[in-house]
Every structure is written in C-alpha cells, then in structure tokens.
Amino acid sequence: MSPLLKSHFALRTRILLFTGSVITVIMIVSSAAILFSWRALMLENAVRSAEDITKAFAIPAIKEFIRNETSNILIEEELGSLVNKYKSEDSHIKFIKIVNNENKIIAHTDWRKVNFIEIDSSDIIINKTGKLISAVLSKSEYGEIIETVCPLHIAGKKWGVMKVGFSAESLQAKLKDLYFMLFFSTIFVILGALTVLYFISARLTKALSELIEILEHLDFDVDQAKSAVEGKNEAQFLFAKFEEMRSRLRRSKEELINAQKQIYQAEKLASIGRLASGVAQLTKLTTR
C-alpha cells in the first residue's frame, strides 16, 4: 500500500466495507425471513396439532353429554375420568377442563377446581358461536401453553366448552435451537464471504497498487502529492497523478516554445550583428 494512501479509505477497503455490508445485510435479512417462516410453520403445526387433539377429545365428551340425556349418569364423574385419562396419555397436556353452559367447571384434571364458576368471555363467545379457537399464553401455573377452547356441540346444540392446555415449552426450545442454528450459520457464511472477498479484492486492486508503487518512485513533490490525494482512493490518486503529469508536460512545452523563441531572437540579433560587421568592414576597405 502506498504510504500516501495509508491513512485513507483505499479502494480495497471500500470494496470490502461496501460489498461486505451488502452481503451481511442480505444474509441477515434472508436468515430472518427463513427464521420467521419456519417459526410460523412450527407454530401453526403445533397449534393445529393441539386443535386436532382437542377436537378428537371433544367427541367422547359430547357422547357423554348425549348419554347423560338418555340415561341418568353422573356426568361430572364420567367426564372427570375421561379428562384424566386423556391427560395421562399425552405428556404435553397440562390441563383439560370442561365448562358447561352455566360457566361451571364440571370436569377438570385438577379435581379441586371442579364446581368453580369460571366467567371467561372467550368461553362464552366460543360457546355461542360454536367455533374452536386457540391461543398461546403464558400462565403462572403452567408456564407457556397453547390453549384451545373447543365448543362441545352438534349443529346448534351446545353443551359447553372443552379447554385444553398443551405445553409450549418444547416448541420454544425448538425455536431457540432454530434461532441459534441460523445465527451461527449466518455468522459462518458472512465470515466466509468476507474472507473470499478479502482475497478477491486484493487480486482486483493488485495492478493498481503496483502502478502506484512505480509512481511513488518518480520525482514528485511529496507534500503536493499528499495534499492531492487527501481522502482519495487509488483510482483517484492515479488520476491526480496523471493530471499532474499532464500539467508538467504542458509547462515543459511552453518552456520549450519560449526557449525556441529566445534562440530565434538571438539568432536574428547575431545575423544583424554579422551583417553590420560585414557592412562596416566593406565601408572601411572602401574608404582606404
């Protein structure tokens, strides 16, 4: 590197910074896009799976309600054992509760909560509208959970809602793994790209650097050159040098023309002198 350019943004540095920045930004944006797409897919799958399980659970619960209408069974007992059976079969389930049309919890995996009146606007709305709905919530008792609320209904006949809480911890752990995998992959790819760019830029600017080295050995006014390249890269530096050379040539040409003019004048004077001397000599001979 030219000593003249060492304190400035050289072309190679600029290539590295600009292209490196572009590559880095593209990589970060791409990784973020992939990350959010995967996140959305994983979340959608987890929620859909939770909703499907809830729908499957709702069928026997509805059958129990129907059975209760045709034969007097202890519906709370039947539903209670049903929800506990479900919970024991799926380790992801944190709780299952069934709330009737009067907002009373008639079955819960935690028996202590049975018979409590639970006024939850979402339950009431879902029961009335008959649509299954889900959310991902953080609850002090269960941590991060996917909660599904499924109306227990056939056509317009409604018996209440079934609420199931599924652990979302494994989903979160998977998302963290995905994040770190993509983060380190991105860093690795960026570093790799910058390394390749470093060598490519060195190759690209090699010829310029060599030219500058040669120019350095020419006779220049170093102070003037320094001021000329202030804040410039190699190409601008070379252009400045070229301009300087051109002005020097122009000056040399003018000096040459002046010298020629002076020589011509001197020759002219010498000829006049010689003529005058010849005339004088002839005059002298004649007078003798």
Binding site: M1, T13, L17, I66, E69, T70, A155
Partner: protein, 299 residues
C-alpha cells in the same frame, strides 16, 4: 493492509447494530404468545328467544346420529321463529311416547307403527315427511350383503334376520306381512333378532352376523354403495309423522307446522336427516288407519 480509524469506527457501529438486531430477533422469535382472536366472533349476534320448545325423537338411530340429522332441523326452526327448539332424546320409542303424553315435549318425531299402535284421542299427527318423489310415503327394505345368495323373500328360509325395534314398522313388516306372502313364518327362519337402531341392522348384515335385515328405505339407500343390496320393498307406508298431544302449546305447534311446511322450498334443508330433506305435508290421524288395518294385532 492497515485499517483506518474511520474503518474501525464503521465496523464497530456495524457490529453494535448487528448485536442489537440479533438480540431483538431472539426475543421476537422466542416470544410465541398470541391471544384469542375473538373480534371476528364477537360480532356474531346471538338471538334471544321467547321460550324453549322441546321436541322428542323416537330412538330409531343412535343419539349421535339423531343429533347430526335432527339438530339442523331444530336450528332451522329456531332461526325462523322466536322459539328455541331443542331435541329431547329418549332411550326407547315408549319413552318418547311418555314424554309427549306428559307434556315434556311439545311435539315428537314418531314412527308410523308406534303411532298407529298408540293412536288415541290424546295424540294427533300434524305433519308427515315427503319422499324424493314428493310423496308422503316411505317403504321398508329387505337388505342383504351384495354377494348374498338371497334374491327373494322365499330364500330367507333357514336364514338369520336382523330387524330394528319391534315398535317400528320395519321391525314388523317382514314377520307380519311379507313372510306370509311367500308361505313362510317366523319358524321358517333360523334366527330373528331386533336391534335398537336401523344402522345397527345394516352393520350386522355387513359384518355377516345376519344373512338379511329390514330397514327404512332411506337407510338402505344410504348404504346402497357400501356393500348392501335390496331384495324387496314394502308397500308405500305413510311417512313417520310429527305428533303432538293435547297438552301441546298451540302457538308453538303452529310455528313448527308453518315453518316445516314451507321448508320444502328451502335449499338449506339438505343437511337434515334424509328422511326430512324433501319437506313435509300436513298429516291427519286418518292417514294412518290403512296401515293399522294392514298389520294384524297378533301374528
């Protein structure tokens, strides 16, 4: 390559921005919480009803099947009136009869056979369903497995036959009417067994537990392409009536009759039980007298 202060500054700022973005992204990615989207549901208005009207149904199908086929009728009635119509299931045909006699239900989907058996001054048929040809009749069908060697009623000798409830016309037609026509009797058959539901009869025949069975034509049609073949049909029988009692509230009955009479022109009835998806006509007790005569009291 020597790096200038400017370059170092630029790289430092870039690294700081990258680190901050990485942290923000981490929290954004791992925060999966999202609330219930209730806004769309909240806008759905819920109708307020003047009163609840309970409708009984004879237990010709499983309760789940009854809810699937009959609840849409209740929803339709509730939508078209100021009453909330609700089904009242029963575990037997007789329980539905008791519910109606005791005024626990305003009306009931009855079977034609139980109606003629229990027809008295207290019960009144108000509506009967139309079939796909627009006629207020149904038929019982003798069904066998597709590959069965039974082609006429005569082939039933020595065979096992599954029947629906003895309180249904289909549970009586074969024994009381059809066998006699072919010179057969109950004793000609190897086994006769009644099942609670028409669908149970079809399942028993399909599983091979019984050689033949009798069900309503609409059930036979439902299973026509699922391995069932119809060997014989009964004469057209007046359709299963909707019956009221003296205790039934007139205003509620009028609302029910008016709406169901108009339903045959409504395309939304296709979700109803196939027996009722072609609409209804008015019924009178006299419509069923012919059926009463057709079936002898004792075999």
């Amino acid at each position: 390559m020597r790096i200038s202060k400017k370059t170092i500054g630029f790289v430092f700022i870039a690294l700081a921005v990258f680190t901050a973005a990485a942290f923000l992204l981490y929290f954004e990615v791992t925060d999966i919480s999202r609330n219930f989207e209730l806004s769309a549901l909240k806008n759905q208005s819920v109708k307020k009803y003047q009163d609840t009207v309970y409708i009984g149904v004879v237990s010709r199908f499983t309760p789940e099947k009854i809810y699937e086929g009959y609840q849409p009728i209740m929803d339709y009635l509730s939508e078209k009136s100021n009453y909330l119509f609700e089904l009242k299931l029963s575990s037997s045909y007789r329980q539905t009869l008791r519910q109606l006699n005791q005024g626990k239900v305003t009306a009931a989907f009855f079977g034609s056979y139980i109606f003629i058996k229990e027809m008295n001054g207290n019960l009144k048929a108000v509506l009967k369903p139309l079939d796909e040809n627009g006629k207020p009749f149904f038929r019982s069908a003798l069904i066998v497995k597709e590959n069965s060697d039974i082609y006429t009623v005569k082939n039933l000798a020595g065979k096992r036959v599954a029947l629906p409830s003895p309180m249904a016309f289909s549970g009586n037609w074969l024994q009381k009417i059809e066998l006699k026509k072919f010179g057969l009797s109950d004793s000609s058959l190897k086994e006769i067994k009644h099942f609670n539901y028409h669908n149970s009869v079809v399942r028993q025949v399909l599983m091979g537990n019984f050689d033949a069975g009798v069900v309503k034509d609409r059930v036979a049609k439902e299973f026509a392409e699922k391995g069932i073949r119809v060997v014989a049909y009964s004469e057209p029988i007046p359709g299963s009536p909707i019956v009221i009692s003296r205790k039934s509230d007139k205003a509620k009955v009028n609302a029910l009759v008016k709406i169901l009479l108009a339903s045959k022109n409504d395309k939304s009835v296709k979700d109803w039980d196939p027996e009722f998806s072609f609409g209804f006509v008015k019924a009178k007790n006299e419509d069923y007298l012919g059926l009463k005569k057709m079936i002898p009291e004792r075999n």
